[in-house]
């Protein structure tokens, strides 16, 4: 626990709530939608997850930083221990920041935030803050020296995908069939999983056209996770609808799942405070098997299911739609993160299913596509 040289700062929420704490990390004000995760470790992965872009993250576990921050490791050009090459959250809200160092730590958490100039605040009763967000919903917040800062941002109106998507196509050669991955803010874990299955990867900017995409003659297409409001991505939804006509196997993850769902006519709603955790039970309705999965989403697919859609996975807690299949198509779409990072490996079977689909060419609903 820190004492000694401390600087008092505040976390102010748009509903007027003020939380007193102490500063660490970068200088200046931080702005973003305040959301919480209940993941107890994996802060390196979470902070570098592009889906958190534009958000200030509250970690409910009171001690964060216990094992420091490791050196970035790459395998085949893919980061294996970070989800992107920088901190994506705009601010970090903690009960306590610790200075732990393990055998593979390169720096402390505090040093990492300083280096990347991301402000943090500690000394917050993160549990009461979490209960406040649970009861009142996620909302904009500012970390500031002032108790009355101005300029709460409307998170729902910001297109954050363009902040985080790759600017030019990147090719990861693996001497195998090519998978096109449309990067809406991808986590390196997705690349890692696809590469591990023997695929070469073409990683494409979020606004890549249908024509351009198919110019790579992909054996399969992955639509990745990403930050922000999917309702702002009308153009991308129509591109996805076009892609789906091609009958090339597709995998949608998180934001990618939401885009597929919108493309088939399903609705999206903003959740009160979202799902951000690594402990959530999801059931595969076809096999009856349960898995512990990683979630990071503030929006969800809901409403009537069109006739050509099967809900394949639901949350065991609140029956949120966690996955869909399109009848007669080769589409697997999941709201959770099969690549985990942070989180349990249970969801990796989604990648295996996708792999099988690419290799067998079987459509959903045809004989033998179910377990």
């Amino acid at each position: 626990m820190h004492r000694g040289k401390t600087r008092s700062i505040y976390l102010i929420l748009e509903d007027g709530s003020v939380y007193d704490g102490f500063a660490f990390g970068g200088r200046g004000d931080a702005r973003g939608e305040v959301v919480f995760t209940t993941s107890m470790n994996g802060y390196v992965e979470s902070l570098s997850d592009p889906s958190y872009n534009g958000q200030m993250l509250v970690i409910t576990h009171p001690l964060v930083g216990n094992y420091g921050v490791p050196k970035k490791l790459r395998r085949n050009g893919i980061l294996t221990n970070f989800e992107s090459d920088r901190i994506q959250v705009s601010g970090l809200v903690l009960e306590e920041i610790t200075k732990g160092m393990e055998w593979n730590s390169e720096k402390s958490l505090e040093e990492w935030l300083e280096e990347e100039n991301v402000p943090g605040i500690y000394g917050i009763d993160t549990r009461s803050l979490t209960l406040h967000l649970r009861e009142n919903g996620s909302m904009a917040g500012i970390i500031s020296d002032s108790k009355n800062p101005k300029g709460f941002e409307d998170y729902e109106k910001k297109n954050l995908v363009e902040n985080v998507s790759v600017k030019k196509p990147v090719y990861y050669d693996n001497n195998g069939p090519t998978i096109a991955i449309v990067d809406y803010g991808l986590k390196e874990g997705i690349l890692d999983c696809m590469y591990a299955m023997g695929y070469s990867i073409i990683r494409l900017p979020y606004n890549t056209t249908e024509k351009k995409l198919f110019s790579y003659d992909p054996s399969g297409i992955v639509l990745t996770n990403g930050p922000g409001n999917p309702l702002l991505l009308e153009k991308e939804v129509s591109t996805v609808a076009g892609i789906m006509e091609h009958d090339v196997p597709m995998l949608g993850i998180c934001l990618g799942h939401q885009l597929i769902s919108m493309a088939v006519g399903m609705n999206i709603r903003k959740m009160a405070f979202g799902h951000r955790a690594i402990n959530k039970g999801v059931i595969d309705l076809a096999s009856g098997r349960c898995m512990v999965t990683t979630h990071n989403h503030g929006y969800a697919v809901y409403g009537e299911t069109p006739a050509n859609i099967d809900v394949s996975h639901v949350s065991l807690d609140d029956r949120t739609i966690e996955g869909i299949r399109v009848k007669g198509k080769k589409v697997i779409s999941v709201q959770f993160h099969p690549e985990a990072r942070p989180g349990a490996g249970d969801g990796l079977q989604i990648f295996k299913e996708f792999d099988m689909m690419v290799k067998s060419g079987k459509k959903w609903g045809s004989k033998g596509s179910k377990k």
Binding site: T38, N41, T126, R127, V292
Partner: protein
Amino acid sequence: MGIKGIKKVMVVGSGGIKIAEAAEFDYSGSQALQALKDLGIKSVIFNPNVATVQTSYLLADSVYILPLTEEYVKRVILKEKPDGILAGFGGQTALNVCLALWNSGFLKENNVQFLGTKPEGIMNALGRADFHGLMKKRGIAVPSSTSVKSVEEGMHAVKKMGLPIMCRVSFNLGGRGSFIAHTMSEFERSIGRALAQSGTGEVLIEKYLGGWKELEYEVMRDTEGNASVIACLENIDPMGTHTGESVVVAPAQTLDNRIYQEMRSTAIRVAESIDLVGECNVQFALDPESYNSYVIETNPRMSRSSALASKVTGYPIAYIAAKLALGMKMHELKNEISSSTSAYFEPSLDYIAVKMPRWDSQKFEMAEESIGSEMKSIGEVMGIGRSLEEAMQKAVRMLDIGEHGIMSINESITSMKKEAALRALSIRNPYWFLYAAQAFRCGATQEEVEIATGINQFFLGKIKGIVDAYMDFLGSSKTQRESMRAHMLKLGFSEKQLGLKRETQKAKHIDTLAGEWPSDANYMYLTHNGAETEIKKSKDSSNSVLVLGAGCFRIGVSVEFDYATTMVGMAAKRLGKNVAMLNCNPETVSTDWNRSEMLFFDQVGTESVLSVSRNTGIKDIVLFTAGQIGNNIAAELHDSGVNMLGSSHKAIELAENRESFSRIVNQLGIEEPEWTTVARIEDAVAFAYSIGFPVLVRPSFVLSGSSMGIAHDENELRKRIEGIEKRYTHKPVIISKYIENAEEADLDCAADGKAAIGIPLFHVEEAGVHSGDSTMQVFPSDSVQSRNRKKVLKRMQDIAILLVKRLSIRGPFNLQFAIKNNVPYVIELNLRASRSMPFSSKAAGIELMDYAMMGSGSSFRWRGFYSPNIRCYGVKSPQFSWAQLKGAYPVLGAEMHSTGEVASFDKSLEAALLKSWISAQPNRVPANGVLLYGMKSHADSIGHNLRRNLGIELYTVEDGMGEGISRISDEEAIEAIKSKRIDAVFTEGNKPSIDYDIRRTCVDYNVPLILNSQLGFALSSSFGSKTEASELKSYW
């Protein structure tokens, strides 16, 4: 859902509380019974541990308090005809009995399903060599090892593997017999005992991974293979220290995502490999310098760690596991805490929980104190906070070892220089954290302490931070201190330690989901690390009551107090009250949040009681369930304005203080042994000569006869007093007349201020043997025929009523007598629930705690003393843990040494005694030979009885024992004990210089020891008697 055709299920308990098998199994068994009840399945509980909640009718339909042997379990199965048996809720003891019944084909023949994990899986998990083979086949890394069955094979294996090695024992508990050897001679010294302690004669010699991190994953899995990890516990002590001896933190603090998840996936694969149904723990060793990890072992049953994980997370592991064993699927079940989300998930914690063990090794003559691979601790506590420092310092206070926190106030520690503190750390003294803090206080670096302990720098840094803050605080002015106060409280210092005025702590929920979902269950803890409290003052706080638990188990405080706490809670509920509970012991039923409207998992102490009271508005407190802690804080609580139900603090003081109590006893014309308090040895000697030796010597204000002893002459008297002065500073010593060969008796009572209800108990052993270690008997009311006996009973009851009226006793109390020449002398009055009350209640078919609760609030419907009609003989026997306490000299005396108790009921005294005695481990009726020596009386009759009833060989190691008894040498006796040619030893007295080796060999080789001639005589008469296997209610 579920398995068809299961209408009745038997749950097997773990027997008497012993080191490594404690009340955590009362908790898990009770949860299993609750699950059966909720599913509408009839339940049968089998457990000789009379003091458990599970053997009340709170949860079970039928209760059998019988020896946990194949014979008796079979008899009950034939009678009850259950459809299934739950073997995994009563520790290793229950599992071993049930596996034997499975292996013999008995269960199958009688159509009893072995529910939960199948026996094949269990045997694969528990046979060390089988388990290693299975892991290797599955590609799961285990340390290199060799299984051996003899000393020679062992030596060979060690030579091949190289030292140091770790030796692990199969089918055993508490690491008994296991050891670490750095040298060949260390190995030779311990391998024999290890082989003897193994259930299969097999031990595993394994590469020693000293200094590696140790982690435990708790895995749940259903019949369809759905699996999740409920908790990961990180041992702060590295590998080499038994997990029961380790300070444990949850959730794991020093693991990054990658290694955490790698081990999680492996843990689930281990569960798959044994086809787990229910719950298991998987233990890992992790290299602190890489991602290399090994699976060490798995326990496919409820365990200490599963109970701890339940309390840590709020996830009712045993309850859910029981339902899974009955065929339900995880996703069909609800998360009981949120009552809306699914039971299939992995709990997230937004607080830190620290478990600390409590040792009482200094109570045992010659016991090795240093901690290691065998479990010696006899209790544990769990501190919860929102900082690691707060959780740790709370846990230290909860241990009730006289410390305020990690900064010791014990002079023997605070006087240590750096080197001495570091030495204490490297020889593994119990409570290492106190020495670590002292070392830091003396300027040791984190590296130095790490070298001495092998403990991760992260944790040491936290301790050093506490020390630095405290030194800062001590060096600050009064005004500076005021500004530091909030910070110091956040670091877990107590208000008392800082000399601060009272500050109400915040109450926070434990909800399994880190606040993501609202929680229906009011499972809470208190913290200084919080801006907001989550509790609304109860609408009718005037109709609410706060019941205090007894905190940490220790010698003298065990499951009986948890029974009292739970039963009083239930009684209050029946009286229409809202019940809040406060306790800090994770191995209890009272800390099951399902048992009360509100559960505060926190220290049983003044600061927390007042915080709870201020948070909830509850003013009525039940203290008499809290053991000696309750009595110790009575005055303080009274002064703080809360209302104590039961006897007043004034009455407690009058009864506890020898002088005032004696004055009252004299005024009332009650007989008591002569006594005095002395401050100087010379006064003690003079007094002893004036009343005549022998005398009883003890410090004042202690429970369980700490340092109590009998002095037969001046020399012994001086030695005893010096011993007491060493352990307790500034406390007067009490010397009283020891009435030789007196019979000891108790009255377990409840009172309403005027009238009382009570049950008399008579000890087999003479007065002088601590009541906690003695064999107690209850007689049928109509069996008391002699005029003298009736007179004695009447006098005991009259004395009880005199005291009730004089002290306005309300609630439970226990009165102890020494009876000589038909005169009962009062020895002691305890104004609280006592150890024997679960036994006396169950013998009489009433519940004293119901009356205690009633009597503390209203009046009984009778006047004077009410004696419930008793229809059976009941005997309660002590359960010792000598085998686990390496080196300790087994002895019976004025200081308590037993860790638990067992009992049985029957139509004859002999049958009840026999069943009760064999219910305690490792007691068995001898079949080969008995060694008999050193008896003060009855030697001839015992020999005669043994020959007549058992037709058995008799041996002795002393001259002049009479005909037909073979005189052998000590060495021959020891060899015969090791080879079980002698399979029971009868002796008496305290003479380690003469028979240390014989007694020690007995306990190391699981051979029963009978240490009292009265007991020896009674027992020898009981061997061979016909016993019943009846349901408890049939005796009411």
